[in-house]
Amino acid sequence: MNLEEFIQNFAEQFDDTDASEFKAGTVFHELPEYSSLIALSIIAMIDEEYDVTLKGDDMKSAVTIEDLFNIVKSKQ
């Protein structure tokens, strides 16, 4: 799996945040639009695109988008 594509898929779960905000090092919990509902969309996207079932703790422990990418990669 590819980080660029993951960031793009990640960004698509947000409606109001500008695409330029999403980088490998983005601390996504601090994005104003991030909410538990967005977290569920991200979990659904990861299930669909990467066939990986995340847990809530995975979402909590990831600080940056790249951290989450690495968690998904390790579970594939």
Binding site: L37, L40, I43, D47, E48, T53, L54, K55, G56
Partner: protein
């Protein structure tokens, strides 16, 4: 691999009992959620809640109605399975009490199953297993949750007790099942205290912060993200594995009745399976998540009057607390669906 198939068993009818009292979420203010965002994501606008009726009471009322509508002689009912996570007593089994309340034969097989959202599918296989050999000819599956051990209102959940009547019939089309369990997720949905592991104590009543909600240890708590991820993964997988194993096209069914978890999860499951909305009825908007009653309640409240006489192919799929999941493929023809019983 837990694949099961039973011949010679047919569904004779469905009924569901709910409390008369309608609670609405339109005026709620639940911490971080506003009423509109809660309703939009969960789909639960109204739900039925009673501080009076247990799951056993709701099932009893539905059973009396269904037995009358079927014209069954109570003496012929030789098995009763009751599925709930909120039984009338810690002991004895509620199924035993319901045998007597309903006036069924004393020579009746009764047992409780402690399961939630997957429970109706498990109950169906248990009853089908009892009937398939012809040793028992008529049986009732009762399932649902009502009044809790302590009173509290959770805006997502509703109370309901469903009854599914099944009978032995030679030549009835096969009823096919697939089941799974992942007990590593036992604490994804849990009431921590009041069982033998963590006994009742004064501490059980003290509210504690659980992800921003103040809950006592006698209230159910949920790791929402874990349950969501589990449901959207195993809901579709269950349907696909059932169809693959038994060699039929899952797309070629009349209705798909999923456990009514919440709208976001159910819509994700539906779209992953590419199922048309008109074949996937929901009742969660009116009744909330009703655990092991949700599949029969969806049939009673959304399909009554539309399918009873004709041959109809169903897939039912439940998933949740345990973690536990199951899917069933069955057909109905000339069945009885009782009007919703409100008490």
């Amino acid at each position: 691999m837990a694949y099961l198939s039973f011949n010679n068993v047919r569904v004779a009818g469905f009924a569901t009992g709910v409390p008369k009292t309608v609670l609405t979420n339109e005026s709620m203010d639940e911490g971080q959620y506003s009423a509109s965002s809660f309703i939009q994501s969960t789909g639960v606008k109204n739900h039925r809640v009673s501080e009076e009726y247990t799951a056993g009471d709701l099932c009893y009322a539905a059973a009396e109605q269904l037995i009358a509508d079927l014209g069954w002689d109570k003496k012929e009912i030789e098995a009763l399975i009751f599925v709930s996570q909120h039984a009338d007593y810690i002991l004895p089994a509620t199924a035993c009490i319901l045998q007597d309340r309903l006036g069924l034969s004393k020579e009746c097989y009764t047992a409780d199953l402690s399961l939630g959202c997957s429970g109706w599918v498990y109950g169906m296989s248990t009853v089908a297993g009892l009937l398939a050999s012809g040793g028992v000819k008529k049986a009732l599956l009762m399932s649902g949750d009502g009044k809790r051990r302590i009173n509290y209102v959770d805006p997502l959940f509703g109370h309901a007790g469903a009854v599914t009547a099944l009978e032995y019939q030679e030549g009835a089309p096969a009823m096919q099942f697939y089941f799974g369990t992942d007990g590593s997720g036992f604490d994804a949905l849990i009431i921590p205290d009041g069982g033998a592991r963590n006994q009742f104590s004064d501490q059980s009543f003290v509210p504690e912060d659980v992800d921003g909600h103040m809950l006592t240890r006698l209230q159910s708590r949920m790791k929402g993200m874990d349950v969501f991820a589990f449901g959207i993964s195993w809901g579709p997988k269950s349907v696909k594995r059932l169809a693959e194993h038994f060699g039929f096209d899952y797309q070629d069914q009349d209705y798909y009745i999923f456990h009514q978890a919440n709208l976001l999860m159910n819509e994700k499951i539906r779209t992953k399976l590419k199922l048309p909305a008109e074949k996937v009825p929901y009742c969660l908007q009116d009744f909330g998540n009703t655990a092991s009653a949700s599949i029969p309640l969806t049939i009673v409240s959304q399909l009554r009057g539309q399918f009873e006489e004709r041959r109809t192919k169903f897939i039912g799929c439940g998933f949740g607390v345990g973690l536990s999941w199951g899917a069933v493929h069955f057909e109905t023809e000339n069945i009885v669906v009782s009007k919703l019983v409100e008490i």
